[in-house]
């Protein structure tokens, strides 16, 4: 990224959120600074051609469109794309902080003051497309933000009333009923919290999330969310430390948590800690098909909505394929040479790019 002197001067060299507005005849965008209340626009150029502008971005950013939003840091020359109007997979990354430390976390937490992230998001929400179908809130642990989180939920409710909002949270802080109530009051109409539960016993869950007492807090949190009428999705990630009791996990959920809206059984994404702990976590999905089948069947039979994410279709038993959802975003997934000619390729999510590190040795195209 390059900024001319005028831009430096104008922004006081502070990082800011920029919104790409209408494109002019010369190909440059008008850039609105959302971090200050200033009606002035800057000009933004992508690529080397076109007229000179206040801010220039390299050619690889050519996919940006009017309506997209970025964070621009003049000091480090960093830019980060935060929102794309054309994408169905916009995630609002709220914080890097977390009160757990899961063995397979794809986004290892850091204890830093990153409250600016939430402030940025609050500035962006009013400018998002009103017809945005879905938005995700992720982290870190979003509930650590307290007032900023409820403000954010309120902003979505106000500015994006028809958007489905999905938040990933370990649910532990909802063990405080008052917090669950506040979230229920603030939330937009279409809101769901995805809460991970990795076992049917305390020690096994606490081990996976590396936090004593987490199992109990999460379960109290789930009960409180149900009590205040917030919809809940349960998430289970299958790896060597969770696969063996999948059937018992299903029984536990059906019996104790029949109120959850859906249960998602996920494969590992080999990022972050999942890489550091790969040898300990890795199990070829072919080896746990039995447990997975019993788990999914039990949940389905109990009347719960079940989905399988991040699993290649050729590894799933045929009875399980109807539960598989193409969960890896289109721009994140890849296929292997083995996939050539596979008849299921259009329905199969393929792999995260990280799967090049390790993947099942049983990938085979289905003819």
């Amino acid at each position: 990224m390059k900024l001319n002197d005028k831009a430096h001067f104008g922004f006081g060299a502070k990082a800011f959120i920029g919104l790409l507005e209408a494109r002019a005849a010369d190909g440059n965008y008008a850039l609105r600074n959302l971090s200050i209340d200033d009606p002035k626009r800057l000009t933004l150029r992508i690529g080397s051609s076109g007229s000179p502008a206040d801010v220039s971005l390299s050619e690889e950013m050519a996919y940006l469109r009017a309506g997209d939003m970025l964070r621009l840091n003049p000091q480090t020359n960093d830019i980060r794309v935060l929102y794309r109007g054309s994408s169905r997979h916009n995630f609002l990354f709220l914080t890097e902080r977390c009160n757990s430390r899961c063995l397979m976390c794809s986004q290892p937490p850091r204890s830093i003051d990153d409250s600016y992230l939430a402030d940025d998001i609050l500035r962006m929400i009013p400018w998002m497309a009103k017809d945005t179908r879905e938005l995700g809130i992720t982290g870190g642990e979003p509930t650590l933000l307290h007032d900023r989180l409820t403000a954010l939920l309120g902003a979505v409710k106000e500015h994006l009333p028809s958007t489905a909002l999905h938040m990933l949270s370990n649910g532990r802080l909802f063990s405080y009923l008052r917090y669950a109530e506040r979230v229920a009051e603030a939330k937009p109409a279409d809101f769901m919290v995805g809460v991970p539960l990795y076992a049917d016993t305390a020690s096994a869950h606490d081990f996976v999330v590396q936090a004593s007492g987490a199992f109990e807090e999460t379960l109290f949190g789930l009960l409180n969310l149900a009590r205040v009428g917030v919809r809940v999705e349960l998430r289970m990630v299958v790896h060597r430390h969770t696969y063996a009791r999948l059937p018992q996990f299903a029984q536990f959920v059906a019996r104790n948590l029949p109120f959850v809206d859906q249960v998602v059984i996920m494969g590992l994404e080999l990022m972050g800690y999942a890489r550091s702990n790969l040898d300990s976590l890795w199990i070829d999905p072919v080896e746990y098909q039995d447990e997975l089948e019993r788990c999914v069947h039990h949940l389905d039979q109990a009347g719960l909505n079940v989905f399988i994410y991040n699993h290649q279709l050729c590894l799933l038993r045929p009875s399980l394929r109807r539960f598989a959802k193409k969960s890896i975003s289109d721009w994140k997934n890849i296929y292997l040479p083995e996939c050539d000619g596979c008849t299921l390729k259009t329905e199969c999510g393929g792999f995260f790019a990280s799967a090049t590190l390790r993947h099942s040795s049983h990938i085979h195209s289905i003819r």
Binding site: T201, F207, E216, R255
Partner: protein, 485 residues
């Protein structure tokens, strides 16, 4: 286990080193080698019998493979005590949700008259032309107004007799008045009829008001006609003809059938079930006959021992499971109710498996003359001179007085299986219920004596049988789990 990266702790760090604590649970012998445990909310676990001393003395090592099952099933706790209790409480609340909702089922005996003279009939037969045994419009109106005082969100109105179709104008009146005066409640109407008198006009009315038909089908023609004598000996043919006409006019699902198991039925569960399959039914209730009314008097003719019924039931269930294995859809209703109580946290409305007893709290009976009873069997007893279960009358009772100035509260108090001698320690208590009328009629005592109670024997053995099937027969278990929903 391969090592975790630096900074991560092994599972041992998260295990509590103290022995586990016991949560309240019940247990008993399932068979020679096994015990069955049930937690407070009715979830069960089958364990080897030999393990019980170690288990209850908290000597099972933490690494024992049963410990996670015991913990996940809320039998023991290791460091997350409060959440176990909270989850149990949530399940118990859900299971008992109907209690707060109050009386949902309202049975109207619109006529005592009948054209059949069944040996096991639970009410007085009266020749067809005696108007004195019909409910009058005035009584009907009062009964409806009383029923509408029920706080229940769902009201199920069931017309009974005698043969209720012999007094159809009063059925019409009750349906119309209920619909006009009901508030937010969900309404459902059922007519329990032998279908001998069904006409196109009646069917038109049923279609217009979404009324369901429940009829009796005891099995193949010979059995049905023996059980249900009527002039012309054509009860079976008339029933089948009636079923077909009702289905054609109202839709297949609007018609259900009930069988009563008599001594002549005992030898032929398969034939009875086949008859249901042949006529396109997808469920059958292998129903025990109750010892009231005429059934008590004619006991030697139609009555039979509990053991014989159990044999009949097991054979019938095996037959139904086989049929399912062959792809025929058929469900046994009693097993389905029990399985729902065993395998889920959902409430069940079946009156005879409630604690406190469902009589009155779940169901009320308005007799043709306006007298109100806690159950149909209570009404039978009154016909025989025993008014124990009489709660009041539509002519002078209020909704409150039916419950408060009547034997009902005392009944509820004395029929909670949680505290009944025998039941309080029975592992099947969370699935079972109590039938005060039965114990009153057969043992002369509201509480009853479990070791000699046919109700207890029958239910205990059926539940034991279901637990074993779930444990030992994977194919059967798969089908049975499907019925629990």
């Amino acid at each position: 286990m391969t090592k975790l990266a630096a900074g991560f702790k092994q599972i041992g760090h998260y295990r509590i080193s103290d022995p586990y604590s016991l949560l309240p649970f019940r247990f008993m012998r399932l068979d020679a080698g096994r015990h069955v445990l049930t937690n407070m909310a009715g979830q069960h676990l089958v364990v080897p019998a030999g393990i019980m001393p170690e288990l209850v003395e908290r000597r099972l090592p933490t690494g024992h493979p049963l410990v996670p099952d015991l913990e996940a099933g809320h039998f023991v706790t290791q460091g997350a005590d409060d959440v176990h209790l909270e989850l149990l409480a949530a399940q118990i609340r859900t299971r008992q949700a109907r209690l707060a909702d109050m009386t949902a089922l309202h049975m109207f005996v619109v006529s005592l008259r009948c054209d059949h003279s069944c040996g096991y009939c639970q009410v007085s037969r009266v020749s067809e032309d005696r108007k004195a045994f019909d409910m009058t419009p005035k009584t009907a109106d009062r009964a409806v107004d009383l029923m509408l005082r029920s706080p229940s969100r769902q009201l199920k109105v069931e017309f009974q007799g005698g043969e209720p179709l012999l007094n159809f104008p009063v059925i019409q009146r009750i349906v119309e008045r209920t619909k006009k005066r009901a508030g937010e409640q969900d309404l459902a109407f059922v007519i329990a009829t032998n279908l001998a008198f069904v006409t196109d006009e009646i069917l038109d009315f049923c279609a217009a008001h979404q009324i369901c038909i429940s009829t009796s089908l005891d099995g193949p023609p010979e059995l049905h006609n023996t059980n249900r004598p009527r002039p012309g000996k054509d009860a079976h043919a008339r029933t089948i003809d009636g079923i077909n006409r009702c289905r054609a006019r109202l839709g297949h699902d609007r018609v259900s059938a009930l069988m009563t198991c008599t001594a002549s039925s005992l030898a032929q569960p398969e034939a009875i079930i086949d008859e249901y399959v042949r006529h396109g039914f997808q469920e059958i209730f292998l129903r025990y006959i109750s010892p009231y009314g005429f059934a008590v008097r004619a006991a030697n003719k139609v009555g039979y021992e509990t053991e014989q019924f159990l044999e009949f039931y097991r054979r019938g269930l095996a037959n139904i499971l086989n049929l399912n294995g062959e792809g025929v859809r058929m469900r046994e209703v009693y097993a389905s109710i029990l399985l729902r109580r065993m395998l889920t946290s959902q409430p069940t409305g079946y009156v005879d498996l409630q604690s406190p007893a469902g009589a009155g709290l779940s169901a009320l009976v308005y007799n043709y003359n306006g007298e109100v009873y806690a159950s149909d069997e209570g009404r039978m007893l009154a016909e025989m001179g025993d008014k124990t279960f009489h709660l009041g009358s539509v002519h002078h009772s209020t909704w409150e007085s039916l419950f408060l100035d009547s034997p009902l509260l005392d009944m509820a108090d004395r029929t909670m299986t949680e505290g009944l001698p025998g039941c309080s320690e029975c592992a099947f208590q969370p699935w079972c219920g109590s039938d005060r009328v039965f114990h009153h009629a057969t043992q002369g005592d509201a509480v009853g004596h479990r070791p000699t109670s046919a109700f207890c024997r029958r239910n205990m053995e059926i539940m034991r049988h279901l637990v074993r099937l779930l444990e030992d027969d994977p194919a059967a278990a798969e089908i049975l789990r499907g019925w629990a929903r």
